[in-house]
């Protein structure tokens, strides 16, 4: 089974069946029509590379404090120093190096949250759609309940219960995003359940688990992949917001939102300490949303060519 959590389409793995290859080719055709989506994908791949090779790319350690270089402006400004390309923060750490290392945290947060919420969401959604009856009713009421709270507020309160930190941030965000996956899976399952291929699989003797995961699930994946991509960017934004409010990753972790929180009191004196971390968040989220838009156009046959 292909990994539904992968936010980017795995293109052309060698040795695939020809029909699959043709499917991928068709997908790529529709995806690449959208110029923005391709740009987003390229930027996202670059970000992944930056995150993977962060220790090699970063000119300095992200937590090394250069006491002789507090709040140094970017190198092209008067007072800037060539070794600190984007300047330094209030305790003399190199901003560029912190941003490069921060990419690891943001992408990790996005990936973990999507895997967590997608996998639990799929299981619960399949269960609700397949079992119907009271299981369905109870599950969906619980999901309605989670959706009744503004997501950031619920995540905030969860982190207040669990204690601030990166791992609890991820758990909290995964929990508040997961109802979307449950609902999507459930409605896709309900749409598929009455179709002939499901009936014939059932008649052929397929068990419940096989029907749920092998027969029905692959046909429900398209909307889930799109939602997964959008949740990836939401997770990064919400984690940064929690970091900004002081409840996410804790200093000196070079998480982008946490960097903004630390820099807040210096905004009128040193614009670069707030500008660059936020820009990094914006570019990452924008790239992923562009990919998400492209995926939706390419995967949703109803919207195709409209």
């Amino acid at each position: 089974m292909s990994d539904p959590a992968a936010p980017t389409p795995a293109l052309n793995p060698a040795g695939q069946a020809p029909t699959r290859l043709a499917g991928l080719r068709e997908f790529w055709y529709y995806f690449s029509v959208n110029r923005g989506a391709v740009i987003g994908l390229v930027v996202f791949c670059l970000l992944v590379l930056v995150a993977l090779f962060a220790p090699l790319l970063a000119p300095h350690s992200p937590i090394q404090q250069y006491r002789d270089a507090l709040l140094t402006p970017p190198s092209w400004l008067p007072g800037g120093r060539p070794e600190f390309l984007l300047g330094t923060d209030p305790v003399g750490r190199d901003i560029l190096s912190r941003l490069i290392h921060g990419a690891r945290f943001s992408l990790l947060i996005g990936a973990v949250v999507v895997v967590l919420s997608l996998s639990t969401g799929i299981v619960l959604g399949l269960l609700a759609g397949y079992a119907r009856g009271w299981v369905d009713a109870v599950l969906m009421r619980v999901m309605d309940l989670i959706l009744a709270f503004p997501s950031l507020l619920l995540a905030l309160v969860m982190v207040a219960i669990l204690g601030p930190g990166l791992i609890n941030t991820m758990i909290a965000i995964a929990l508040v995003l997961q109802p979307h996956f449950v609902r999507l899976t459930r409605s896709a399952v309900l749409g598929e359940l009455g179709k002939d291929y499901v009936t014939s699989a059932r008649v052929a003797g397929a068990g419940h688990l096989r029907l749920m995961f092998k027969t029905i699930l692959p046909n429900c994946l398209a909307p889930l992949i799109v939602q997964g991509t959008l949740s990836f960017s939401t997770a990064i934004l919400d984690a940064a917001a929690l970091g900004f409010l002081g409840l996410g990753a804790q200093p000196p972790t070079p998480e982008w939102g946490t960097m903004l929180a630390e820099a807040r009191q210096f905004i009128l004196r040193a614009w670069w300490v707030v500008t660059f971390p936020g820009l990094a968040i914006l570019i990452t989220v924008l790239a992923i949303n562009l990919v998400g838009d492209g995926l939706r156009d390419a995967l949703d046959p109803k919207l195709k060519r409209s």
């Binding site: 009421r141 709270f149 503004p150 409010l245 905004i267």
Partner: protein
């Protein structure tokens, strides 16, 4: 119509009960002793502890505790703040108008810019204006608004010096709070310049809070408009020779705006979350900042009540939007 409204009211009862259960459970799942957390006292003796136990009813069975909590809620008892020692509901009602005022102006900004931009983008589909609007909307949708707020402060308060950095009005003005809405109170006070000062303080927070709704509304308006423009009745209107302005304004717009109203309603939840961030950045004394302060001060009765009240507000607004939707769209009502 009345049946429709009653129907919707019945549907939210389970959600309401669920919300109260979550708020009730909140203080009991916190790490640490809930009695001490709610009392907010240190160095409690054994006798005092027993006294607090009885006072909060923690010595009774759980279901009894829940029903007395629920009973208290219906009487307006949402608990007492540890830091201000006042009933939480009183603090909430004092601060709530500030958030409403901010949200109203943010919504105005989002709707007044977003709806026309979406319409124009749809009408001129594929033009540079369309591409520019949709590009900007995607950037807005991806925006970390806490960062946008900081940038706006740097530009408009720091560099240009046009707007104040924080608060709701200059300290030079003082007048009684009649409505709690600073702009209205300023007008009522009749003091020269007070209204302008209130507006000045409001403009950056409103833009910050309105940015994501603006992007969502612009995108939604455009796609709803595009859908309607392809419909037969619009073609008929065109074919019978109506000028484009009339076709769009009278025929297409009415139907296109139906899904947009829902979108605007759904943004209320987004706004409440956004208010937490916006109010923190601009030191706006509303319920978003109140919640954050309560969390950092471990004022758990406030967090508990705030969670409940905010969820109830979102629920109520969604209900109103649902009913409005039924009013403007008979197809929903008669389902």
């Amino acid at each position: 119509m009345i049946r429709f409204i009653l129907n919707r009211l019945v549907l939210i009862v389970p959600t309401f009960i669920g919300i109260t259960i979550i708020a009730f459970a909140f203080v009991r799942v916190l790490p640490g002793d809930p009695v001490l957390l709610i009392a907010g006292e240190r160095g409690v003796t054994a006798e005092r502890y027993q006294q607090l136990m009885t006072q909060f009813g923690y010595d009774r069975p759980l279901y009894e505790q829940y029903f007395s909590y629920l009973f208290g809620l219906f009487q307006g008892d949402f608990g007492t703040s540890i830091s201000t020692k006042r009933p939480v509901i009183r603090d909430f009602l004092t601060l709530f108008p500030a958030t409403v005022e901010l949200a109203v102006f943010a919504t105005l900004f989002a709707v007044l810019v977003g709806v026309p931009a979406g319409i124009l983008a749809a009408v001129k589909r594929g033009s540079w204006f369309d591409q520019l609007t949709m590009g900007t909307a995607l950037v807005g949708y991806s925006m970390p608004i806490f960062w946008l707020g900081l940038l706006l402060i740097i530009l408009f308060s720091g560099v240009l010096g046009w707007t104040p950095v924080s608060g709701r009005i200059s300290l030079t003005y003082f007048f009684p709070a009649v409505t709690g809405f600073m702009t209205i109170d300023a007008l009522l006070s009749g003091q020269r310049g007070a209204f302008q000062s209130a507006l000045h303080h409001l403009i950056l927070p409103a833009i910050t809070l309105g940015t994501i709704p603006l992007a969502v509304i612009a995108r939604q308006t455009r796609s709803a408009m595009l859908e309607v423009l392809g419909d037969d009745y619009v073609r008929t209107a065109r074919a019978k020779g109506l000028p484009p302005r009339a076709v769009i304004g009278q025929h297409a717009l009415r139907n296109a705006l139906i899904p947009v109203v829902t979108t605007i309603g759904l943004q209320v939840g987004v706004m409440m979350a956004g208010a937490i961030l916006t109010e923190t950045i601009y030191s706006w004394p509303g319920i978003g900042k109140w919640m954050i302060d309560a969390i950092s001060r471990r004022d758990y009765p406030v967090v508990q009540a705030g969670l409940l009240l905010i969820a109830m507000i979102v629920m109520a607004v969604n209900l109103i939007i649902d009913v409005l939707y039924g009013l403007i769209n008979p197809r929903i009502r008669h389902q």
